[in-house]
């Protein structure tokens, strides 16, 4: 978190405006990764369509901001729409006791339905209030403004600050949430649903609540995203983005919150680096990374590093203990040898 704040302060000083705008987009994606880290990593709910809530957040923000002529309430609307949609979808899945695999299929399908639905909205008849949906071109998003002051529009570097603040706050919120009793029960449900039920927890309710919170966090990411990019198009609902989100979490590590955030940052820079050279196909590399991780580092980077660190520390501790013991034994040995000599 301290690193995050440092990053927030330093980055605009050393980076160029283009890089900052780019960073804002990644921050938004990192928030998306964070939301899936919560839902999948902690709750065990494999949501293949976390981008649905992310994209809906972005669309809801844009449409609301155009209609309200300001971003203050639009942010709230965006988060609420994302959460409400997650709650509705979650209600049918959890209370219908849909199994894990079908849950992944359903969430992915919902995202893809939104994708093709919004691509068809190119005519002038498709508008919500004053906002034209614009088909596959999408809609231009009004930039964030200072709360309750629509004329004071934020510049890109300020949007970056807002994005970083959103990421840090979301991270702190999620970290707090997983520590609470609610968070522990969610983890318990991930570990064993039947046992959680037999103890008396209504797992449907817990899953739904966690899923809804995850949807809201993804919605926050969506708001930052359309501000970073400047527009929102149906591409946020594409299969490519839905799969990428899963890959970030797998690479970063399930069961941690920081892992997927770092995964999003790392893979984004990797792909943009690969984009600058024309030798290998981008998606091919991503695919190879995914396969390598699933085979070799199935827990993801952060949990694996933590494990190595723990092991190294345990080894160091035991070595130190052994040294201490040996020293003591050495000292004891001298004393016992000295004792008979000093006898009679």
């Amino acid at each position: 978190m301290i690193l995050g704040i440092l990053f927030t302060v330093i980055a605009p000083q050393v980076l160029q405006l283009f890089a900052i705008i780019n960073l804002t987009t990644i921050i938004a994606l990192a928030i998306l990764a964070l939301s899936l880290a919560l839902v999948w990593g902690y709750g065990g709910i494999l949501c293949f369509g976390q981008t649905a809530f992310f994209g809906l957040g972005a669309y809801a923000y844009t449409i609301a901001a155009i209609n309200f002529g300001g971003s203050t309430w639009a942010i709230l609307v965006a988060v609420l729409v994302a959460a409400a949609f997650a709650a509705l979808l979650g209600y049918f899945m959890f209370y219908g006791r849909v199994s894990d695999v079908y849950m992944a299929v359903i969430t992915l399908t919902v995202t893809l339905i939104l994708y093709s639905l919004l691509r068809r909205t190119s005519g002038p008849e498709y508008k919500i209030g004053k906002a034209l949906l614009g088909g596959f071109n999408g809609v231009t998003s009004p930039p964030l403004n200072v709360p309750w002051n629509p004329s004071a529009i934020l510049f890109p570097e300020h949007v970056f600050y807002a994005g970083m603040a959103a990421l840090i706050l979301s991270y702190v919120f999620c970290s707090w949430l997983v520590q609470t009793h609610f968070g522990r029960v969610s983890v318990a449900i991930r570990e064993n649903e039947l046992r959680a039920e037999l103890i008396g927890y209504d797992i449907r309710f817990y899953k739904l609540a966690l899923f809804t919170v995850g949807g809201a966090v993804a919605g926050v990411g969506g708001v930052i995203f359309c501000n970073g990019v400047g527009r929102v198009s149906p591409d946020v609902f594409s299969l490519h983005d839905a799969a990428l989100t899963i890959i970030w979490v797998i690479v970063g590590g399930r069961g941690t919150l920081i892992g997927p955030v770092l995964g999003a940052f790392g893979l984004f820079y990797l792909t943009s680096f690969l984009g600058t050279q024309g030798v290998v196909n981008n998606n091919l590399v991503l695919g190879i990374i995914l396969i390598l991780f699933v085979l070799l580092v199935p827990r993801g980077i952060v949990p694996t590093l933590v494990r190595w660190w723990d092991r190294a520390r345990a080894r160091r501790m035991s070595q130190r203990r052994e040294l201490r013991l040996r020293r003591r034994r050495g000292a004891g040995g001298v004393a016992s040898e000295a004792a008979p000599g000093g006898g009679p």
Binding site: A188, E191, R195, G200
Partner: protein, 240 residues
């Protein structure tokens, strides 16, 4: 001696396709009783057990726990009546520590501080205090059984349903478990599914024998073990 009936199964049937796993069973359990359900494999004990705990919805008939009709309810609704349930194969939160496992159970009923105290007491009582920081998934089978028992006990249930609590245990562990069951029975009504006859002798209770989905006989262990039908069921057909 007999108080009120706290668990009642009325004409309970559970059919899987053409298989009648439980067939029109009528069953009564009185308050403070310790009842064992026995029977050979496939007799319908576990299916009956699952119908009681809400894990299966019976094909026909009703389960009534106190005044609550438990038929077709969710498992957590049955658990919330104050029923502690241990499954045949231990179901634990494998990725969590033993302490957290027990705490999650105690925390369902009590505020944080009381739950912690109760957890500590339970770990002590079950003598699993020294493995409290171990991950449940790494434990040996016998230890897993006890952790699950600990989760049941920590919730302080008034009705305890145990499915094969001594399965896979060493002789000493089994004795300790029997002792524990008698202890739990001081404050709770119990049903224990078991097919280890020796174990049932240890806890010496009233026994209900299942056979082919029906109740064959219901009596004390001495009467039951002397019954020719029970011997026949357990040892194979010897009637000429």
């Amino acid at each position: 001696m007999r108080g009120e009936v706290v668990v009642e199964a009325r004409n309970l049937s559970m059919h899987f396709g053409g298989v009648k796993a439980v067939d029109r069973v009528n069953f009564n359990l009185w308050e403070n009783e310790l009842r064992c359900l026995i029977g050979p494999n496939g007799a319908g004990k576990s299916t009956f057990f699952k119908c009681l705990t809400g894990q299966l919805t019976p094909t026909a008939g009703d389960v009534v726990i106190r005044d609550f009709t438990a038929t077709g309810r969710q498992p957590h609704e049955v658990a919330r009546l104050g029923v502690g349930i241990k499954t045949q194969v231990p179901n634990l939160f494998d990725g969590l520590t033993v302490e957290e496992n027990v705490l999650l159970s105690a925390r369902k009923w009590h505020a944080a501080t009381r739950a912690r105290a109760l957890t500590a007491a339970t770990l002590e009582r079950l003598r699993i205090g020294d493995i409290r920081h171990h991950l449940a998934g790494r434990l040996a089978h016998g230890q897993r059984q006890w952790v699950e028992l600990g989760m049941v006990v920590a919730a302080e249930p008034w009705l305890v349903l145990l499915d094969e609590p001594a399965a896979g245990m060493t002789h000493e562990e089994t004795e300790r478990t029997a002792e524990l069951i008698r202890e739990i029975n001081q404050t709770a009504t119990m049903i224990v599914v078991e097919h280890d006859m020796q174990f049932i002798r240890m806890i010496s209770s009233k026994v209900t024998v299942f056979h082919e989905g029906r109740i064959l006989i219901e009596d004390n262990m001495d009467v039951v073990s002397a019954d020719p039908r029970v011997r026949e069921v357990y040892l194979g057909h010897r009637r000429q």
